[in-house]
């Protein structure tokens, strides 16, 4: 997927279908510009976090431990 162009309505629909989300006609227009912008920044963060110097960092995950 090109990061320099807005996600098309067809692509939005395909993503939604894969997510099991049925979008009403026209919803893509509201979603596309925001999602496109957010994903562009997110991909940049993905690249940063994929750098070798960060390989040892795991995700912030909370375990809840029951009291005995």
């Amino acid at each position: 997927m090109s990061e320099s162009s807005d996600l098309s309505a067809e692509k939005i629909r395909a993503l939604a279908e894969a997510a099991g989300l049925s979008l009403e006609q026209g919803r893509e227009a509201a979603i596309s510009p925001i999602l496109t912008a957010w994903l562009a920044d997110a991909h940049e963060l993905n690249r940063k976090m994929s750098a070798r110097k960060h390989w040892a960092i795991g995700p912030l995950t909370v375990f809840t431990h029951p009291r005995k």
Partner: protein
């Protein structure tokens, strides 16, 4: 001499509490004063979703108890408001939504139960951005909340109702919730004090979630002392909340008069002070100068990976709510407001590895701040880059006449504590040329809320910004 209702409503929580304890003022008078204020401002401010006239009966019971010598503590008999995503047993809790418009919880949220046990009187449930997923409190189901300082402007959000309610003297304190800034932003925009606690410091049990890994409940008041008093009542481990911390609490009012001599204030100039409306810059810088005058020192700090925090926050804060709302979004999408529906749909479409990378970034950022806290005690920065915008605005001008998207701009500085789990206190520190409030954000080490309260109290002892009231 008996105080009039206006004078009563203008008291701080601490002042009112002392008068109640000494039986100079009745809780009935406090409730009447608050209900009178609500009656005067609610049609304009839309800061409440539910108002509890039955609070008068509770106040009469509190008066009887106190007269008999059963004073429960500083919150006994004090009218307090709750954001309407905090469950109250037997009373409608809407989360600002149509989806939960008729929900009646079967039990109190833990924070509500603790306030009830402390003798607080619930005066009402405040308006919020729908499901807390937004920063304007422009609520399509319960009305557009407005800013008491200028009713053509927004009170921020999502706890905008609580922020406006406290600023407008309709209650002596309120609870809000803060995921990406939803206590801190309304606190700054409405000229009041608000705290986002360390993640896990205050129970989230019984509160409608937004993003589980970032949600907190915080106190919102007109003074730092009041905020610490209210925080004392709600902080602490809750076995019913799996994310609740076991770390011991303390008396958060104990250090309020200790001052800031020797306190090391960290500054990150290239991030927190580089893109601000001039009035915001000047107010926060001026506040730091005041603290330095009181004996604190400043230290420029570099946090290598601070850039990128907005993207991580948007990823986490969109994916997690979308998980919570999955069923409703499919069953009844039209019952959501347009903006929240769009955000929930977007959250469904962000790839899972992108979410995981954001969660890895949080670990990285947290480790960098914890390292920085070896050389400083607090960080101070603006809460947001601008003062209150007109109701309905989706863009904002910060510098050079350039319009920017408001959602991204509004969380520019609040994301750091949200992502790292650190506590953060907002304290009013000035006004712009239109008389709109500016609030500074004081960020601290995990579980070091006491230091934040100490710094905020020292600032308020030396300034009067918190004593100004809107004219509404």
């Amino acid at each position: 001499m008996a105080k009039g209702s206006g004078e009563l409503a203008n008291l701080s929580l601490a002042e009112a509490s002392r008068l109640v304890e000494s039986k100079q003022v009745s809780p009935v008078d406090l409730v009447d004063a608050c209900l009178e204020r609500i009656g005067a401002v609610q049609d304009t401010l839309k800061c409440y979703i539910s108002v509890y006239e039955q609070a008068r009966e509770v106040a009469k019971a509190a008066e009887t108890m106190i007269a008999a010598g059963y004073w429960l503590g500083p919150l006994h008999g004090l009218p307090i408001a709750l954001k309407d995503n905090v469950g109250l047993k037997g009373l409608r809790t809407t989360a600002g939504s149509k989806v939960l418009g008729d929900w009646i919880p079967e039990e109190d949220a833990t924070v509500a139960a603790r306030l009830r046990g402390a003798g607080a009187i619930f005066i009402g449930k405040t308006n919020l951005h729908e499901f807390a997923w937004g920063g304007t409190t422009d609520n399509p189901h319960h009305g557009t909340a407005r800013n008491p300082w200028d009713t053509e402007r927004f009170p921020a959000g999502s706890s905008g109702g609580s922020g406006a309610a406290v600023a407008a003297r309709t209650c002596f304190g309120a609870l809000g919730t803060d995921t990406g800034g939803s206590v801190r932003l309304p606190a700054a925009i409405n000229g009041i004090v608000g705290i986002r606690p360390t993640i896990g410091r205050v129970s989230n049990y019984g509160v409608i979630p937004l993003a589980w890994s970032m949600d907190t409940v915080g106190s919102m008041t007109r003074t730092v002392e009041d905020c610490a008093i209210l925080f004392n009542a709600i902080a602490g481990h809750d076995p019913r909340d799996g994310g609740s911390a076991l770390e011991a609490t303390t008396d958060y009012t104990a250090d309020l008069e200790k001052g800031v001599k020797g306190m090391r204030i960290g500054l990150i100039p290239d991030y927190f002070f580089s893109h601000l409306q001039p009035a915001v810059h000047d107010a926060v810088r001026g506040a730091i100068d005041i603290l330095v005058g009181l004996g604190a020192t400043t230290h420029d700090v570099t946090v290598e990976n601070i850039h990128g925090n907005i993207s991580a926050q948007l990823t986490v804060e969109s994916c997690e709510p979308s998980a919570y709302h999955q069923a409703w979004l499919r069953e009844r999408p039209g019952d959501y407001g347009e903006d929240v529906r769009t955000l929930l749909e977007i959250g469904e479409l962000i790839p899972a590895p992108t979410y995981i990378q954001a969660q890895r970034y949080r670990q990285l950022l947290r480790s960098e701040f914890l390292e920085a806290f070896k050389s400083v005690d607090v960080f101070i920065c603006p809460t947001l880059p601008f003062t209150a915008t007109p109701v309905g605005a989706t863009t904002v001008v910060i510098e050079n006449g350039v319009e920017e998207d408001m959602l991204s701009a509004i969380m520019q500085f609040t994301g750091v504590p949200s992502l790292t789990g650190m506590p953060s206190l907002v304290v009013p520190c000035g006004f712009d040329e239109d008389g709109l409030p500016v609030g500074m954000q004081i960020m601290g080490r995990p579980f070091d809320e006491a230091t934040l309260f100490r710094a905020g109290a020292a600032f308020q002892a030396a300034t009067e910004y918190h004593q100004r009231a809107p004219s509404i």
